[in-house]
């Protein structure tokens, strides 16, 4: 097992390198270059000043030199300096990290708590009214644009009913747990919607597959209660592939966070990404993209390891 993890970790290196080349190339292809941002704002027009600025950022050097410089710095944790704030990108990302983790963490837990029982009941009561409604609801959730769902929630709960604050993380001057909870309810619901729909569908089909297995029939014939058979024998085995999918989705939640945080004014990494995009803050964009990609790669490995750990039929060689 340990050898497998080590081998996979070593294999991650070329993949991450390739990712860094792609991200660097895409950002390099951006029109205007870094000084474009400043020229747009009419901050300076003196060509000498522009050259000095380019030299300071290192963008006057050949592209491949810039890449190696960026990569080398990246390996030591230096993700460069933000064009907007002139502060280190790493610090900016770390500052925003707690809010994003809070939102993603809550969404993940809520989605898991809702999706798994939903999938189990749908499968156990296949073709019942409950199954029909749950299936219909997940189809609707998957077909709904995340941002529109967010806007509708805001309209209903903030504008019409005035139960929940429209955006932000905390009311200035109020604070406290209840206030923070009120702020996080809507973004967490919106962010977890797709996960609930996807995972419950997945759990349902996995459960249906397991319920047809011989060992379930054996458990029934041993005289075990229906409840024991389902909760001990069936759910445990059916959740193995689902847990693996859920682990993969942690990294994918980041894509959802970009939209969700923007709608709800949530001061996390996702919103910072959109702000960096509008400001053409390339070091910050590169840093966030690199972080997101690394998350995908790492959780890929974790998902595989968990799968093997939960399913004794799988051995790693």
């Amino acid at each position: 097992m340990l050898r497998y993890v080590i081998r996979r970790t070593i294999q991650m290196v070329p993949l991450l390198l390739a990712i860094s080349v792609v991200i660097f190339t895409i950002i390099q292809a951006a029109p205007g270059g870094p000084e474009g941002t400043l020229l747009d704002r009419g901050m300076f027009v003196d060509p000498a000043a522009i050259d000095a600025y380019r030299a300071r950022l290192g963008v006057d050097q050949p592209v491949f030199m810039q890449y190696f410089k960026w990569l080398g710095a990246m390996l030591t944790g230096d993700m460069g300096i933000s064009f907007q704030t002139q502060r280190p990108v790493l610090i900016m990302i770390l500052e925003r990290m707690p809010d994003t983790l809070r939102l993603m963490g809550l969404s993940f837990v809520v989605a898991a708590i809702i999706a798994i029982p939903l999938g189990v009941f749908s499968a156990v009561k296949q073709y019942s009214t409950f199954d029909f409604i749950a299936t219909g609801a997940s189809f609707v959730a998957i077909a709904m644009p995340v941002f529109w769902f967010g806007l509708m929630m805001q309209y209903l709960f903030s504008v019409k009913l005035q139960w929940l604050p429209v955006a932000g993380t905390v009311t200035v001057g109020v604070g406290g747990f209840v206030d923070q909870l009120k702020h996080i309810i809507m973004p967490a619901t919106v962010l977890s919607m797709h996960s609930i729909a996807g995972w419950s569908r997945y759990m349902r089909s996995s459960m249906l597959g397991v319920l047809n297995q011989d060992y379930i029939r054996t458990a029934h014939s041993k005289g075990l209660s229906r409840r024991t058979v389902i909760s001990v024998h069936a759910v445990k085995n059916a959740s193995i592939p689902v847990v693996s999918v859920m682990t993969l989705d942690i990294a994918r939640l980041f894509s959802g966070a970009v939209i969700t945080e923007t709608i709800f004014g949530w001061p996390g990494i996702g919103r910072m990404f959109i702000q960096a995009m509008h400001a053409r803050d390339y070091p910050l964009l590169m840093g966030i993209m690199m972080m997101g990609s690394t998350m995908v790669v790492v959780f890929n490995l974790i998902a595989d390891v968990i799968y093997g750990w939960l399913d004794p039929r799988i051995t790693y060689e």
């Binding site: 390739a18 990712i19 292809a29 709904m144 806007l151 894509s255 939209i259 959109i274 993209m289 995908v296």
Partner: protein
């Protein structure tokens, strides 16, 4: 049970004086699809909606860019069934015109993504070895970079038009298809008919196109259907962030972007375009579900 049978069986039975109705594969699929009520209803709804959208210039009550300053921000009424926007433009008219762009983008982006995925997946699966290794590492790579942020950055480079959006979405939505196609080809390629075709001297290209792809078309078609829904949602998300098709051309996404600021006073401007996206994607996904059941020969 006796519904699906080969010509040979049919003839044998016919010789015994039993009449057998032979049905083609397409007909079987079609009949199975018709049993999926939801998918049939969804197809009819979607066809109607698409027809209305594409006939918009003929049937729309107003011009999509007709500004009417005497009637701005009017709630839904008999004169304007879905109300008007901040410039007094009729929302129903703009929804119909917007649907043309949104549906076209969805269809073409999904086709592009499916084509790229099929090409890469079939090459990897059929040739195997180093080509397979290289192409699958490429797929891993594309999979590892979060797609939406990547699409957002690339779209932000230029004042994009519909064609650009289609290219961007298509180029970053082929990974799923390529993996599915590769897997399917790996299993199909071991069949005797492929060996037979090769023994007869068929070229690789011909074998893939004539013998392998038709046998895995099921998974490609279902994947492509789901891709249409995803592309429509991606387009609307981009437009919502101000990166999609630029105004005044209406799309469902950029109509939502415009409406956001005035949602509390004119909610209809937000509700209806969103409903249009929701219903369209929902119908597309129901059709995909129906096709999946209908095309699966084991059901």
């Amino acid at each position: 049970m006796s519904e699906i049978m080969t010509d040979g069986q049919g003839m044998a039975l016919a010789a015994e004086g039993i009449t057998v109705k032979l049905r083609s594969n397409a007909k079987i699929t079609w009949e199975k699809f018709l049993q999926h009520k939801l998918a049939v209803v969804a197809s009819l709804f979607l066809l109607t909606l698409a027809a209305l959208c594409f006939l918009a210039p003929l049937i729309a009550p107003y011009e999509f860019d007709a500004i009417d300053l005497a009637n701005i921000r009017k709630a839904p009424s008999v004169k304007h069934l879905l109300g008007t926007d901040a410039l007094g433009r009729d929302l129903l008219t703009r929804l119909l015109y917007g649907g043309r762009i949104s549906i076209t983008i969805g269809l073409t982006a999904a086709m592009l993504g499916t084509a790229i995925g099929t090409l890469i997946g079939s090459m990897a699966g059929y040739f195997g070895g180093r080509i397979d290794n290289l192409l699958m590492r490429l797929t891993d790579l594309a999979y590892s970079i979060p797609t939406l942020p990547l699409i957002i950055v690339i779209s932000s480079y230029s004042n994009t038009q519909a064609v650009g959006i289609v290219m961007i979405i298509g180029f970053f939505s082929w990974m799923q298809t390529s993996r599915v196609v590769r897997g399917a080809i790996l299993s199909v390629k071991e069949n005797e008919y492929v060996t037979a075709a090769r023994a007869l001297g068929s070229k690789d290209r011909l074998i893939i196109i004539r013998h392998v792809l038709p046998n895995i078309s099921n998974s490609i078609i279902v994947g492509a259907t789901l891709g249409v829904g995803n592309a429509i949602i991606t387009e609307s998300s981009l437009s919502f962030l101000g990166l999609g098709v630029s105004p005044p051309t209406p799309t469902w996404g950029n109509m939502l972007m415009d409406s956001q600021a005035t949602m509390s006073s004119q909610p209809w401007l937000t509700i209806f375009p969103g409903m249009a996206i929701l219903l369209t994607v929902l119908c597309v996904n129901f059709i995909g579900d129906g096709l999946q059941d209908a095309l699966d020969p084991t059901l």
